[in-house]
Symmetry: C2
Subunit: 308 residues, 2 copies
């Protein structure tokens, strides 16, 4: 049997599902009936965050935000958060209060949870919400438009500037520390969407999940990938390509939608009402996988991205 | 500001509640309306379990069981578990499959969650359920009978035999590894109970929570504390008292109930129907705190017990 480091997170999830021991581990959340939905994300020190780059308050906000982003993808209104916190014994009270202040900034109350000692800092958040309609990942059909909210690449570029000590990219760092909350957009988009996910692992990985679950191909026009300001400069400093950075990297927490072409007007009106820009990235076709198409009509090979 | 090690878990929870940053952190779970309830418990290697004493399967079972015990105290029927798992990178697939097999033995399906790398093993489980009536901790009134399911002390005594290398106590070790599931009992008892909790931190600590929240005193007859077979021998080996061990130690996961005397028949019928023994421990009186009363009418001083 393979160790986790070799099998990978997704390989292990697939194996657990195959054996009937779990379901929905890589889904945004679970739908419980009566419109009730729940999500769960575990943040571990050294894997998902580094204490030297993250204030306690930012960490609290982020732990709430990644779960609220899952609720947004479920088209849900938040009811509350359950917070499980594993804290090193030398953590002081001020730090914990700041962390909870950050959690509260997400706008959903902490209604329960658990607090315990641990060697490394661990935050496990469950967000509970209510949704009228959950489009999910499996509903895309050939002919659908592929649409994304906001702009991409800022969070990953911001993290890169922290890792490499590049100065002058405060907006990008801020985006890494403070992912957007697209809850209102999610609720509005969920009414018309065939498929709806949040971009936690990046456009490439998350679009591929829609394609796989919907058994269709998603074609993305390279020129239409909305690249956040500053990402090009960071990509250049890194010796890479801005589109690859924006499409390959995670943690943008924007929403990716497919919708039938005749509902595109509704989708765009929903975005306008929620005050967010939308980009038409491309469309769904018969086939499998995802394809990036260049202006000349060629295709671009792009690699996926998976959290450890 | 004090570090966590000095302030303690409960002190920190009180501070967070005082500031309005959280609620229900030390409750069994949260009631979401429409009868939906959710619980969350975080198990951390080295704090809640030791890998050398715990198989992967037992660990999975225990992670499910401690949350299902919270559902039992809420009088709930389980709907499913969300499992957040932080795994050391060298963990092999067989181990994870065994852990999920253990989780499944609790009888509630794993319907979602998250899997990530971590330096130390962390399991965060959220149990979702549905309840017709949640008695809670605050409903005990003077005159209520105080009743407990099953027998106490076996889990702590079993752990002691592991810690001190005592042989011949397999039943106690089994109880430490495999806490009981009192879900059916919880649903039946919740219909008549004024207060209902599960014994995760021990009779003393959990009874004190009912007394505090209900603003009454709980009087426990020392002679009526049901001590599990084998606990007396371990207490003797440890140079301690069997009642103190049974009442002071945690992890029994039995249910502690207060009910009006005129419903005692219903409570006992509910227990009989669920196939579990009940002990009448004492009663609620006007006053505060908990008191252990000896046969001669004296009182016994007992110390609480708090997980790190």
């Amino acid at each position: 049997m393979k160790p986790l480091s070799e099998l990978g997170e997704l390989g292990l999830l697939a194996e657990l599902e195959r054996r009937g021991l779990a379901s929905g581990l890589d889904a945004e959340g679970v739908v419980l009936g009566d419109g009730l939905v729940a999500t769960k994300d575990l943040l571990v020190e050294g894997v998902h965050f580094r204490r030297e780059w993250t204030s306690w308050r930012d960490l609290g906000y982020k732990a709430a935000a990644v779960n609220l982003s899952d609720l947004a993808a479920l088209g849900a209104e938040p009811l509350g958060l359950l917070v499980g916190l594993g804290l090193p014994r030398d953590t002081d009270e001020t730090a914990v209060v700041e962390l909870y202040e950050g959690l509260a900034e997400g706008g959903a109350p902490v209604v329960g949870g658990d607090l315990t000692a641990a060697d490394e800092l661990v935050i496990s958040v469950t967000a509970l919400g209510r949704s009228e309609r959950v489009p999910g990942r499996a509903g895309a059909v050939p002919g659908d438009l592929l649409i994304v909210t906001g702009e991409l690449g800022a969070a990953a570029a911001g993290l890169y500037t922290l890792q490499h000590g590049l100065a002058g990219f405060d907006d990008l760092v801020e985006r890494h520390r403070r992912p957007p909350l697209r809850l209102e957009e999610g609720r509005r988009l969920s009414r018309s969407a065939h498929a709806l996910v949040d971009l936690s692992d990046g456009l490439i990985a998350d679009a591929r999940r829609i394609a796989d679950r919907s058994s269709c191909r998603l074609v993305i026009d390279v020129d239409r990938v909305p690249i956040a300001p500053g990402v090009e400069a960071v990509a250049e400093a890194a010796g890479g390509d801005a589109v690859e950075l924006a499409a390959g990297a995670g943690d943008d927490y924007e929403l990716l939608v497919t919708a039938p072409a005749d509902r595109a007007g509704d989708v765009e009106a929903a975005a306008t009402a929620a005050g967010v820009t939308l980009s038409r990235l491309g469309r769904a076709e018969a086939g499998a996988g995802i394809v990036f198409r260049t202006e000349g009509g060629g295709t671009l090979d792009v690699a996926g991205y998976e959290h450890e």
